[in-house]
């Protein structure tokens, strides 16, 4: 058995998102359906499942996540990941949002 620990690459989510082209739609295509559910929620799975750091729950907040929609890769993981089905997800309007160049 090897004892060599895998080297974790020195890469941040910002490094990764920096490679992605976006067109700002000007308004968020994401939201929560019922903030009260977020207040009750303690597991904050949205923050776990999102690959683009869109969802964050600040320590000093009431539990309703803040949403960095400009980071969104439009995968939809949050929509499936929220156990309360509390993610409001719309497609960004008229060509806005992520523009993959490789895909």
């Amino acid at each position: 058995m090897s004892t060599a620990q895998p080297h974790v690459p020195d890469v941040s989510i910002e490094d990764r998102l920096y490679t992605v082209k976006y067109r700002d739609a000007g308004e968020s295509h994401l939201g929560v359906k019922d903030p009260d559910i977020c207040v009750e929620c303690t597991s904050n799975e949205c923050t776990q499942v999102c690959p683009a750091a869109v969802w964050t729950v600040e320590d000093d907040s009431d539990g309703v996540p803040s949403i960095a929609y400009e980071n969104c890769l439009e995968c939809g993981t949050c929509r499936f990941g929220c156990p309360h089905d509390n993610v409001r997800w719309e497609y960004p309007k008229t060509g806005g949002g992520v523009v993959f160049k490789q895909g």
Binding site: K21, R23, K93, T94, V99, K101
Partner: protein, 259 residues
């Protein structure tokens, strides 16, 4: 006697500025892959042309100069609501700098009997901002540049523009015909209606005018362009310390040192 204004909007096809990247390995500009799009400031021009038509009546005609694929930017304008389009296309236009370009647009505006010609502030690929004043100068028309908003006075054949001047603004009343350069970001361009967009992209056909149609075949192109690109140089990088600090305290110390 006012039956509306003939409004002409000048648009340009440019490489998408968002897609023009710098290759970090070679440091060179990579714009070959960038798709051709409507020059972003021209969206503001189209929007104010349409808003002006709503205010005074009349028509909006989009014109562009370029090779046949430049038709796409006329489609964008027509999709947004322009009534018609003219494509100035001719090999003779090749290599034109701003002097012949503004001549061609000026002649076309004349043929269209324009009351108002509206342009974007400048193009994102050459950034001169010289074409709108050039059109006005070729035709001896009045001009309004860096315009934040327009206020038509159709009864007086006057267009008032609120201009951004350094440190403030001014309102200038210009006699028709007038050439307007809208300030980038001056308005919020409307999205094209669905059916209009389908029409623009499937049925709409611009008329094509050549240099000789406009009677300027001997006055355009490279030979009639006063400016020549003499050379390209990489902007020389400035040597910097490039020191990364971890704390605000360290940053503060450095700032205090240099002050």
């Amino acid at each position: 006697m006012n039956d509306g204004w003939n409004i002409v909007v000048c648009v340009k096809q440019v490489p998408d500025a968002d897609d023009v990247t710098i290759d970090p390995d070679t440091g060179t500009l990579n714009r070959s892959d960038a798709p051709a799009v409507l020059n972003r400031p021209d969206h503001n021009a189209v929007e104010s042309a349409l808003a002006l038509r709503e205010a005074v009546g009349g028509t909006v005609t989009a014109i562009t100069m370029g090779p046949p694929p430049a038709k796409a930017v006329l489609q964008t304008a027509v999709g947004a609501g322009a009534d018609g389009g003219v494509l100035l296309t001719d090999r003779a236009f090749g290599g034109s700098d701003t002097w012949p370009t503004s001549l061609a647009l000026a002649r076309a505006a004349e043929e269209l009997d324009a009351d108002v010609v509206i342009c974007g502030e400048e193009s994102t690929d050459s950034s001169t901002g010289q074409v709108p004043p050039g059109i006005a100068a070729h035709n001896g028309w009045s001009q309004l540049t860096y315009v934040e908003s327009l206020e038509p006075r159709p009864d007086e054949d006057v267009l008032v523009g609120k201009r951004d001047v350094e440190g403030g603004y001014e309102r200038v009343a210009a006699k028709l015909p007038v050439v307007v350069a809208m300030e980038f970001g001056a308005n919020r361009p409307r999205p094209a209606g669905l059916h209009r967009k389908i029409f623009a992209e499937t049925e709409f056909e611009p008329v094509e005018w050549t240099a000789s149609d406009l009677g300027i075949e001997d006055r355009v192109g490279l030979a009639n362009s006063p400016t020549k690109v003499g050379g390209m140089d990489t902007a020389s990088p400035v040597e910097r310390e490039r020191e990364r600090v971890d704390t605000v305290d360290d940053l503060y110390e450095h700032i205090m040192e240099v002050l």
